[in-house]
Symmetry: C2
């Protein structure tokens, strides 16, 4: 039995450590990043993935950049931090938590520009640790707020991995599932395998298995069939970015599930911390969708699936319009339609809570 | 450039030969079946798949059973044929073409019960060859009837492989695409990879690439995204069984596409010969859905994708209700809603054509 608080990314012995998620479930490997470049590589190559986990990792990346820097003035250190931020922000475009975290780190440094470089380095590491701790606390709050939704809906479908591995710990979409299951709700989770990266088959199935939560792994194309047969009561997914109007960018395939959910009158819940809400993006059409390498579709673990030379598309995310979403579960509580006001309020509350 | 009439299954040198579709696209291997048991194995293990191709192969299986049999009376030969039919029909339950073909072979033998065993053996082999030839002719007719549908709809999505490899030659869903493309229609085909067997990535992509038809391979979960973006004009799929009311059993994932098509006002066409129509099955709920091994979902080419011990579901087909289907393209022409009368008429026409 795994501790449900298994850490995905953490600071230890002057370096950022993370579970290499490209190796799961066949191998459990920990990557040690001593430089911001290694952190950027880990994010780009999806050794670490999941919007909140990327945010936490990027915060450690900024802390590492500060440690690495040989600047002996705060001005010079800030310049190095700006460079690190640019490097980190360029790794993956869709998840807003990345920019949110690097921005928070840089803003803090700017606010303390009068401090010595050494003091700044300590401050930034402490802030990264705080972002990690907050992320886990947010996930647990999402679990508490979302668990009630599952009281009457025991057959839950989830897509990709919005579990502990996608966050500092505990998960977003899997948080209500963990909390409800721990409280005795007899859940059964349908896990979309989530091609092409198979985060569902590799990571979500692994997490649920470790936690002892009953699951059935399905291919993505089976979701409609099981809804048609009445075997799915609700869907919970995570989010990589939530626009101000409630449109949600999430792993490719989420939109297909949303259309199916509506056709079968099944609620679709999105679970995400307020750091995923981007009030500066008015709607989903403004969210950049990462296009990844075609080889990630045509090959699997070095094995060629499709004929050599075949063209493949690989948008890593899609956008689900807010009209297809029943509720957004944040650490501040449930946000229900109309989303615009509720999301703005949740962000404001989170801001206030942080300043207390 | 491959001959578009590439044969999938054929008779040569006193045996049934077929392309081993589990080896494509990385290897092109031909399997030689000298006994009906080998034919049953080829169908069960999906060395040959696709409803019409299974039908043709099963017909050769019946011919082989007759050749193998050491019966020296027609009565004894008929008994052996009934046993062969039971063996073949048990291999895969969903595609009706299998039972259709073995039934046609057995009925012919019964009609000529007065002949000598030697004469019956010759008759049965000739009938299997006729079923093969008819299948190819039906596919070409489907191509002619369906090509007009693509004149204004150039961006076509297809699922699984209903190409030449799923038939004796030329294909069902790919037939209108081949015919329209040959006539100069500037088509672009989106190919669903079709997990778990990857018939789209392995077979359809290969066939289209060989034919020089532009394609983009996508994961199954991307279909909704590309419809949302207006990049898909219509969908063409094959069928494993069509009930009397027009409900269609086809590769798992077809129903999901049908729901997406309706939500985006995109027509969904089903292309199938009349041998796929089962007037004895009133609606889709009566079609048996094959449940295949979970390992076909959790493993790929011997490689473990999901954690060991994880439960997985593997329904190989789903049922699309007729209300989501725009038209069924048969060799007798287009059948449009309401389907019940049109399908009965198409079957009657095919029967008449065969008796002429």
């Amino acid at each position: 039995m795994i501790d449900t608080a298994l850490r995905t990314v953490w600071w230890e012995d002057q370096a950022c450590h993370l579970i290499d998620q490209t190796q799961l479930p066949t191998a459990f490997t920990v990557v040690r990043c001593e430089q911001v470049e290694a952190v950027a590589h880990a994010i780009r190559s999806m050794q670490v993935r999941g919007a909140p986990a990327i945010g936490v990792t990027a915060a450690y990346g900024m802390a590492l950049a500060a440690q690495q820097s040989d600047a002996n003035t705060s001005v010079a250190l800030l310049a190095d931090l700006r460079q690190a931020q640019a490097l980190l922000n360029a790794t993956r475009p869709t998840a807003i938590n990345l920019a949110w975290a690097t921005d928070r780190m840089l803003t803090l440094a700017q606010q303390h520009a009068a401090s010595t470089p050494a003091a700044l380095r300590d401050l930034l590491l402490a802030e990264a640790e705080r972002i990690r701790d907050e992320d886990e606390a947010m996930c647990r709050a999402i679990g508490r707020h979302g668990a009630a939704l599952l009281r009457e809906r025991h057959n839950v479908l989830t897509h990709c991995n919005a579990g502990g591995l996608a966050t500092a710990a505990y998960g977003t979409a899997l948080a209500p599932i963990r909390t409800a299951f721990a409280a005795g709700t007899p859940l059964h989770v349908y896990v979309d395998e989530t091609r092409p990266f198979l985060q569902g088959a590799r990571l979500t199935a692994w997490e649920l298995q470790q936690a002892g939560i009953p699951l059935t792994l399905i291919t993505d194309s089976m979701a409609g069939h099981f809804m048609q047969r009445g075997q799915i009561d609700c869907i919970i997914v995570g989010a990589d970015r939530i626009a101000a109007n409630g449109d949600v960018a999430n792993k490719i395939g989420t939109y297909t599930l949303a259309v199916l959910a509506q056709a079968h009158a099944i609620p679709l819940y999105v679970a995400a911390p307020t750091s995923t809400i981007d009030l500066n993006t008015s709607d989903g059409s403004a969210i950049p969708i990462e296009e990844r390498a075609a080889a990630e579709v045509t090959q699997l673990a070095g094995q060629q699936l499709a004929p050599a030379g075949v063209m493949a598309a690989h948008p890593a995310f899609d956008v689900t319009p807010h009209r297809l979403i029943s509720a957004i579960i944040t650490e501040q509580g449930l946000v229900q339609p109309p989303f615009a006001s509720g999301l703005a309020q949740a962000v404001a509350q989170a801001e206030q809570a942080r300043q207390r």
